[in-house]
């Protein structure tokens, strides 16, 4: 049972698009959605806009199984931080009475203090199945554009707590250090380099999307999650890696495993990189 909590303010697509992204990425919908809002006239109008979109999205992605009454208006008197905190507390406590419940708090819309309060509950309730998501949008020009009409590469739905945890931890140098690190700095064939690094990350036990990203960061390389997923899909199709869905309390995540061909690819590619370094074919 997934309950999604979000806040409707001035920008309806900040409410709609994260849910759309979640449905598309996970091929499932939340079971219940709370739309927190005040009684401001413009906000009430935006609540209606959100509901119009969300009803369509949820119907389509749930194959007509989403019950309209589970899209719930949750009106608060005004948007002071005291009232918002109390409302969130009540909602979370009520929903978590169900032991199987999982809560997603969307911190994309709303004011900064709301995001801070959302994070507070997310962190406080780590063992209580609360996930805090944020739809990162690379360019402001897409703010008023429905999710599927935005280039997918410009969006990223992020599990904020998980990402912050992984990216703030130091990686043991020994785990990522490689005598050939200097060589890869000068490789201009980005596609090949990325495949190489992804496979090496998996071999070195960085088996999830976020961990592979962390590995890239340690190598002073940058890659977006969506690009990573795309390359992983290719590697999966070419039988380099397998993928396993692992459920935990908060979410399903995917573990990537080396199918054996990866080691040879890494060796061969490193030979190519070295040959370039020694003045051979340009890569």
């Amino acid at each position: 049972m997934i309950t999604w909590i979000t806040t409707v303010g001035w920008s309806p697509f900040a409410v709609i698009n994260p849910i759309w992204a979640y449905c598309k990425e996970n091929e499932k919908t939340p079971d219940k959605i709370f739309l927190l809002h005040t009684e401001n006239m413009k906000v009430l109008k935006n609540v209606e806009t959100c509901k119009k979109y969300l009803n369509e999205i949820l119907r389509e992605y749930s194959h007509n199984n989403f019950k309209e009454e589970n899209l719930i208006n949750y009106q608060i008197k005004n948007e002071t931080y005291e009232i918002y905190s109390i409302a969130m507390k009540k909602l979370i406590e009520r929903e978590l009475k169900d032991e199987k419940a999982k809560i997603i708090i969307d911190m994309t819309p709303g004011r900064k203090y709301m995001s801070a309060i959302n994070m507070f509950y997310g962190l406080k309730s780590l063992n209580n199945s609360i996930q805090v998501l944020y739809l990162y949008l690379e360019e402001a020009k897409y703010q008023k554009v429905p999710y599927p009409l935005t280039p997918i590469i410009k969006n990223e739905l992020i599990d904020i707590i998980e990402s912050a945890e992984i990216f703030s931890k130091d990686i043991t140098i020994d785990k990522v250090k490689d005598p050939n690190d200097e060589i890869i700095k000068n490789i201009s064939d980005i596609d090949l380099l990325r495949k190489f690094l992804i496979l090496r990350a998996i071999v070195k036990d960085f088996p999830t999307i976020t961990k592979i990203k962390k590995y890239f960061l340690a190598k002073k390389q940058n890659i977006k999650s969506i690009e990573l997923r795309q390359i992983l899909k290719e590697l999966q199709e070419d039988k380099y890696v397998s993928i396993t869905k692992v459920p935990n309390k908060k979410q399903n995540f995917f573990l990537y495993k080396n199918l054996g061909k990866a080691d040879k690819f890494i060796d061969d590619t490193m030979k190519k990189f070295k040959s370039r370094e020694e003045g051979g074919d340009r890569i």
């Binding site: 009409l149 935005t150 969506i226």
Partner: protein
Amino acid sequence: MNDINNILENNILLNSNEFVMFFNELFLDAKHHLIIKDALYGLELFDIKISNQVEIEILIDLDRIKQNKRNLPINIQNEFPNKSRFFEIFLKSGLFFNKYYRGSFDHILLNMDQVNPLNGDLPIAISFDTNLYFNQFFSQMYPMLLERYGAPRFPIKFLMSEGVKKELTRYEKKYKQYDINDLKNVVKYPSIIEDFFNQSKLNSRLWHLGHSDFLKCIGNVNYKLVDEDISVNSNDMDNKIINGLMKEIKQQNIKLYILSQDSDFIARSRGNKNLVAKFLDKIPYSKLKQLYSISWEKLVRFIYTLSVTFGAIILEVKGKPIIVIQGIWRGKKLFHWENETMKICSANNLLGKIKKDLTILRNIKIEERVNWLY
């Protein structure tokens, strides 16, 4: 050939403002590296890599297009784009716009914005000659208008000529069954050509494209349609257009910027009071680069122009055709031209995924164009 027939069995119609959905699904399906072939010559034209930006590498030189055209039977040569038509695809898609033309438009828009009637400044309007609509200049300047003024209708004024409209609406020639049969004898993908029946021939569809640009202009700015001057006693349309506009300039007491890529037209426009004639240089073939890096939005325009010019294109991944995009198809109607609709054919399940989101969007009936740049 079986591959192509399988692909043609399933299709979906997508308007250009929905087309990003198609690239999104391709990207998610790890099909980000594509080869584009045309459906007429069957030549490998472009190598496309979709990432944050899109890299387009041109795989063919203009002279090879010329050579291939020469080798065709004479009766069907007109239906195959020549090197000039091929080159125009880059122009029409806006790949030269920012570097070569944007400055001229910025200058005019700045002058328009600075008009102060309290100081006695004359209101300023713009007018395009036929060749500018033909080359999609309104569509090319559309993103800069969005950027400058926000959502349409844009607060700029266009004087549009009936004479220009007449020139743009010369798209009556359509493919009959015998044309289709003639084409099928020489093309590499006859099953695609079968679907061109009763659709515009090459020149007609390029005029149609120009007229669509004209209509797009009407739909997005403040405009007035001005008759050409029928008192001009000859078939000289340029003169009729210029005189018609001059009458309007005098009547309304306005200043008009007229833009053209035809130096004769510009020469004849010069020397008239309150008429500023601006010549937009043609880009020489030599300026065509081998590699372009463009936005996803520009890629949509590029694919649209390409598929209309060639009628259809084939997208291959790892040497295997996976998608056919048709710019014309049996049953294509006026509103398809207006919405810049393309027919996407594929046996891949990406069409199902697109349909899901398309159903949502169309149910919500977003009637107004969403405010995004392209």
